[in-house]
């Protein structure tokens, strides 16, 4: 195992340059160091001007997603030693505008998350005095997988459709919509379907499937979107058979 490894890190300083470039740093490579440890070493010991996002360093906050040797990865869960003898290339998440160095602009993603109404919608809210909306373990299992998303945006980075058409609502937001649609307490699926049945919604997805491959939490957004398509198509078909009936999405 190499004692040192070269990290090639994207630098973009909008006040002095118009394009990104790579800067090389030599960092230690003990077997328990992740890419994020390497970046923290650079920041603390070599070059304090390097900018990047991180927070929990334990795969929960979803802040430290970056491209590592061309693959979207959580840098807190990707070991440096796996790339020995190096060099290892660290770039900002693909398909997003870069603000500085490894920091990408996430406003578009945040707007899309809100747009799918990721909260429980009820036709009639019952008063608090009547107690909780109860749910069985089986009902919980129906959507639990989709609730594991940490909004790390690796799926958007792996999705060429989002790269080609930024209007596409994208994997994580649609999976999140599905998380609420499949929740037995929720009655908001018709509202969400209005947005998601547009071209930029579920039909924009051509099932490349890479979103599911790169997801560090095994959410399977590609599966969620295809399930959604199936439900939307069935609803459309049902609307001919039962024009007045209201099918559940």
């Amino acid at each position: 195992m190499a004692e040192q490894i070269t990290m090639q890190v994207t630098r973009y300083r909008p006040e002095v340059e118009t394009d990104a470039s790579f800067q090389e740093y030599e960092v230690p490579c003990p077997k328990d160091w992740v890419i994020l440890d390497g970046l923290n070493y650079v920041k603390d010991q070599l070059d304090g001007t390097l900018s990047y996002r991180w927070s929990c360093r334990m795969g929960v906050c979803g802040s430290c997603g970056m491209m590592v040797n061309g693959e979207p990865k959580l840098t807190c869960a990707t070991f440096l030693a796996d790339y020995a003898p190096g060099p290892v290339k660290v770039e900002p998440l693909r398909n997003f505008p870069v603000i500085r160095d490894l920091v990408v602009e996430i406003g578009d993603f945040m707007r899309k998350l809100v747009a799918v109404k990721p909260w429980i919608i009820r036709k009639d809210e019952k008063p608090v005095s009547q107690g909780e909306y109860l749910q069985t373990p089986d009902e919980l299992d129906e959507y639990k997988q989709y609730s594991m998303c940490i909004n790390c945006m690796l799926c958007y980075s792996a999705c060429p459709i989002y790269g080609l058409d930024p209007q596409f609502i994208g994997p994580a937001a649609i999976a999140l919509a599905q998380r609420y649609n499949l929740d037995s307490r929720d009655e908001g699926s018709p509202e969400r379907l209005e947005l998601l049945s547009q071209h930029e919604g579920i039909w924009g997805c051509t099932f490349v499937g890479e979103c599911t491959e790169v997801c560090p939490k095994h959410v399977d957004p590609a599966g969620a979107i295809q399930r959604y398509k199936l439900t939307a198509a069935m609803d459309w078909a049902k609307s001919f058979v039962m024009p007045k009936g209201k099918a559940d999405a």
């Binding site: 870069v98 603000i99 500085r100 602009e105 578009d108 060429p160 080609l164 599966g223």
Partner: protein, 137 residues
């Protein structure tokens, strides 16, 4: 959805790296995806060829013979061999992803994804067997 950033005098210029025309060549799953999309052209050609066959059968013996001659032309033959492989690829890749899209329940239990994939292959085998019986008996 409006994605345009609002620039101010103090807003740093965001870098927007363009997506290469050849993005799909960088990784095998992307190449596979493009091939799968491309396969739809061959599926369409297969349907057209089948319709031409129906028309020829309806048109009598001479029309049918013309169709056979047309199909035996080396160019058409080559296209059909390529189309065959693309259609098999199309079917296999869709069967592989079907368990992700179909979530079925038997009672309260979810049908295992492997069973959904197996049922697709089973249905394919049954239809092929019936067609073979009809054509070869």
């Amino acid at each position: 959805m409006n994605n345009e950033p609002i620039y101010t005098a103090y807003h740093p210029r965001w870098l927007r790296p363009p997506m290469s025309t050849y993005w799909w060549l960088g990784k095998w799953p992307y190449v596979k995806f493009i091939l799968r999309e491309l396969s739809s052209i061959f599926v369409a050609w297969f349907v057209i060829h089948l319709l031409l066959l129906f028309r020829a059968v309806r048109g009598g013996e001479a029309a049918y013979q013309r169709f056979l001659d047309f199909s035996a032309h080396p160019v058409v033959l080559t296209v059909n061999v390529v189309a065959f492989f693309f259609i098999v690829f199309h079917a296999l890749t869709w069967f592989a992803v079907a368990p992700q899209a179909i979530v079925a329940h038997m009672g309260k239990k979810r049908v295992p994804p492997l069973l959904i994939a197996a049922s697709h292959y089973g249905a394919w085998a049954v239809v092929s067997a019936i067609l073979s019986w009809l054509l070869l008996r």
